[in-house]
Subunit: 93 residues, 4 copies
């Protein structure tokens, strides 16, 4: 999260909202709410987590990867490979 | 969640674990952990939420949709349509 | 695809359109078109394939699964399990 | 696809294979093959398209984005933003 400090509060706020959504899901299940409504809420929480990921990845490209590429050398290749692998995990999750 | 009572505890347990993962994510961000590691953990939490969805959907087909289809009539069609829409939201989330 | 005969033409038409999109992608690559534009077109083809899946699954629930559930017995459970597994593959693809 | 020339043949080969998969899907539908089997094959074609996307994106980061970042300036920011948007489309497709 180095270099992310400017956005740290925004990321934390989003994650706290996701935590609230997951707690809301538990209440829905405890109250025997209708399955389809629970599924709709899970889709919303999943999308919120995905939005956090995409935001972090954007920052990561802008800062960590950009820094490594500007400096060049082996580390630059490693950073790009690492970012590509993270994108692949994101796409497949 | 009607008809899900048998699995209610299992679903709640899984959702509490996801809540723990999301709290863990907040700690990682607060501690300025490396962005790629945060992304890996978000992918894990997303997969866990997806597994809850798939479990709920399976139960929903087995119980609600099956009941409606056994009884037949207009409600059966409506239940299948509703399930298909939930699947579409799941696939696109 | 039994029971799908009514929609067969529509499904085939959609698949032929996807085939055209994939051939268009080959031309884009041959013509050295800009990578980001190629990615946008791949996303469109992927969405088109997904729409075919969701349509087929909806039909499958309405016909095959509904028939099995109406008849009841072991086969009904097997059909629901099979559908749930197909949904899981769809969500994870 | 500039800068991708080295991989062009590999990308084209993969896309031709996807085209073959989509044609195979049409035959399956024409032959009234079982819906679940068609869904399994669509999932395979979708994964193949996704793999092409991830490969192109990796190359794009390594070449186009890396070049822009090494040169710096406004174009570097634009390239990163464009890549992030392509990743978002990929994740949501």
């Amino acid at each position: 999260m180095r270099g992310y400090t400017s956005d740290k509060d925004a990321v934390l706020k989003r994650l706290r909202r996701v935590e609230g959504q997951v707690r809301g899901l538990q209440r829905m299940v405890e109250d025997d709410e209708y399955c389809i409504d629970v599924l709709t809420q899970i889709a919303a929480a999943t999308k919120a987590l995905q939005a956090v990921s995409l935001g972090l990845l954007d920052e990561h490209l802008k800062h960590c990867v950009a820094d490594a590429l500007t400096r060049g050398g082996e580390n630059a290749d490693a950073k790009v490979r690492e970012a590509s692998e993270a994108i692949a995990r994101l796409v497949r999750s």
